[in-house]
Symmetry: C2
């Protein structure tokens, strides 16, 4: 309001336009990153900027301004593509959840029909470089701190949890039945494995110097080896590989 004409407007220091040539040609091969972009791309950019922001400085310091700056775009664009900050956050969470679910489903599917291979694949995914980035862990836990209080977060997280749990329970049940562990309570093992995974994620985030993805994997495999000793023992459990399984 008042007179804006005086204030300096739209200084664009870099890359205003370098349109190559033919203006009559309808589709110029789009190489430049910045200008008007298809909405889907903008949304993705913003979601990724949000992840970087939350990972860098936490939920409390993640503002519209911060995210916009991180994305090298203007403040207003967030309300343009998402209607509110809240929705940006929701969509960010959904993005992570979808990514995780897809990775799990694919890993288990490509592991074949053996329950043993399936469980090993789950562990592999959980501590995979792609899924288990520190950046993303930070965002997961930021949301987990609030999920109890925001119905939308709760719904998204609950759906992710359920699909994970169903998968693991199914694998453990199969393991018990086909692997010959009639005396093992599959649900107890399955719930233990998911809790263990969450706990290891937490360690990876907050104590990166005493916990690594390798070590987390090893701890998880040890858990499986102790629960299903005839199947996972070879892959390095809590039992040291240098000694025999020590029936004593």
């Amino acid at each position: 309001m008042t007179d804006k004409g005086l204030t300096l407007i739209h200084n664009r220091p870099f890359l205003t336009n370098n349109a190559p040539a033919a203006m009559t040609r309808p589709p110029p091969p789009r190489k430049t990153a910045r200008r008007t972009a298809p909405p889907e791309k903008r949304r993705r950019q913003l979601i990724e900027a949000t992840i970087r922001c939350v990972a860098k400085s936490g939920f409390a310091e993640t503002t519209i301004a911060t995210v916009a700056r991180e994305a090298a775009l203007s403040q207003g664009i967030i309300n343009l593509h998402f209607q509110s900050k809240e929705r940006l956050l929701t969509e960010t969470l959904r993005h992570l959840a979808d990514e995780y679910r897809a990775a799990c489903a694919e890993a288990v599917a490509s592991a074949g029909t053996s329950a043993e291979a399936g469980l090993a694949a789950m562990v592999e995914v959980d501590f995979n470089r792609r899924i288990c980035e520190k950046k993303k862990l930070a965002v997961w836990f930021a949301f987990w701190g609030e999920r109890k209080f925001r119905p939308t977060y709760r719904k998204i997280c609950a759906a992710r949890d359920k699909s994970y749990d169903d998968l693991v329970r199914q694998l453990c049940t199969a393991m018990c039945e086909e692997g010959g562990y009639p005396d093992v309570d599959a649900a107890i093992v399955a719930d233990g494995l998911s809790a263990l995974t969450d706990g290891l994620w937490l360690d990876l985030l907050v104590r990166p110097d005493s916990m690594s993805r390798e070590r987390a994997r090893r701890i998880s495999m040890a858990f499986l080896a102790d629960a299903f000793p005839r199947h996972f023992r070879s892959q390095g459990g809590a039992r040291r590989p240098t000694q025999r399984p020590a029936r004593r």
Copy 2:
């Protein structure tokens, strides 16, 4: 800044004084319980109000006003007893951490010298009604979401973690040596147990209908039973109690 003197200062529209009669009468018998209290008590009141607030509506909606209202006191009192909101939160976290550490230390001490009893006592404490209240879990996770980004939170949490880990590692090492498990890697079991506990806490908080303190305890004991089968088997592990431990 500038001159504040000009801005209107302290207009108190209501209740300036409605002293009905005797202005010489000093104490009309106050019915309300609260007036002046020893500072230590006030601090405790405020910390407890903070816990209730965070547990009820989360970190994001916990404001000075909310906490003060919850404590049935005025806004200003928080900055009187703690110098800032930040310090109130810090002290709240420290309160929880101290309480937890004390409970652990006491439990292990009174469990005697046996490593087996010590580990069982740790599990008992972790899912004890006192420590593992839903209210407090909510606060723990609210802080955990931010601990990576606030040095003070990090220090407090790291100290708590360290004392917990030291205890568990020590017990697991003793278990391996004295219990006759030379082929078990104590550090792997110990790290697994702490991660498992954290994960179970998370489940208790966000999925109270599919996880109970009893069940969490059972899963933890199953973990120990699988790691140290000759010691914990009797207390209900993943193996169903209705069948014999199945030594094929």
